[in-house]
Symmetry: C2
Subunit: 174 residues, 2 copies
Amino acid sequence: MRKSTQKSASRRSAEARTRSRANLNLQRYVPALLVFLANRFTTGTSALYLKNFGVGAIEWRCMGLIAAERWVSPNRICQVIGMDKAAVSRSLRSLEKKKLVEIRSSRQRSRFLEVALTESGSQLHGRLSKIALERERRLLAGIAPGDADLLISMLNHMLTNMPKVNGHIDMPAE
Amino acid sequence: MRKSTQKSASRRSAEARTRSRANLNLQRYVPALLVFLANRFTTGTSALYLKNFGVGAIEWRCMGLIAAERWVSPNRICQVIGMDKAAVSRSLRSLEKKKLVEIRSSRQRSRFLEVALTESGSQLHGRLSKIALERERRLLAGIAPGDADLLISMLNHMLTNMPKVNGHIDMPAE
DNA sequence: CGCCGTGAGTTGCAATGTCAACTCATTTCG
DNA sequence: CGAAATGAGTTGACATTGCAACTCACGGCG
């Protein structure tokens, strides 16, 4: 199956060169790379976990924080994992239905909730943790540890930049 | 290769180590950082582009490649921007409905399509390019150019790792 | 010739994730 | 005291996006 003729190949690289200067080169456009990576990772996670354990990616992330902070509030889960409270609420109720977490009302304020893993939830979390770390290891395969440190620091740095990124941009009139 | 932010990287990992117990390593768990960043970014992008221009993020990325390679095939768009062909197909039809791209059948094989920007599509692409680059600039603010190059190469590397990441994993018996 | 195999593009479906409207316990203030 | 404000959590609607099954034009092989 012939792919590109000589002509189209040279036209492509010529145009790519001009694009990289003036406009957009998608191979080097960081936001696109980030989004593709994240989408594929999440989808893969979801498929794997759902198939083998019956929990989705969001539920798994919630379990991660609940394992770290027993009797944590849903509100705090939202803040820490940066997820909408609607998604967290649904995930927790779903986890509760599967008897993986226990949800109780706070003593002081009955409207406030507190969540903890059940025994089986804790076991499942242990197994999923191993898989998650293995997946991270594969994701980073071939990257030197020092570079991975730099990557992590850059990702965190970009997170702190996000408010400015989503801030106001003057629309080009043109 | 590694440069100025090396120092801040090691400082960051030292901080992360101390907080690791309470924080579930969320500051150092690469998949979570990626997903978090990407979610924030796409939400902002979609909101901004949809509100001001009526096109979504994927449509915009398709336009990016169509601008670079006039009369490109949908299949090639998928390959280059690494997006599912279903999403590309839907985006192109949507763009066509808005008269931002023109879709025609290839001469040789009527099932093969070729896409190009219309005049108004080209204009819109010019405006969106400026905004996209400004947003990327803000995202990367404070990162040394050399580090950004390394970041891009690492992101691309991780993309190539994705098949292995989503491949089979031996389930821990436990 | 005609009948498969291939592969481009389409459609259906499921999961993720956000926004907004809502409920209602608790707090605050007139 | 009681009405309004606050804010946690719930629910419904919807956009995004990947996977899988599908359609069907073209090319190869009998």
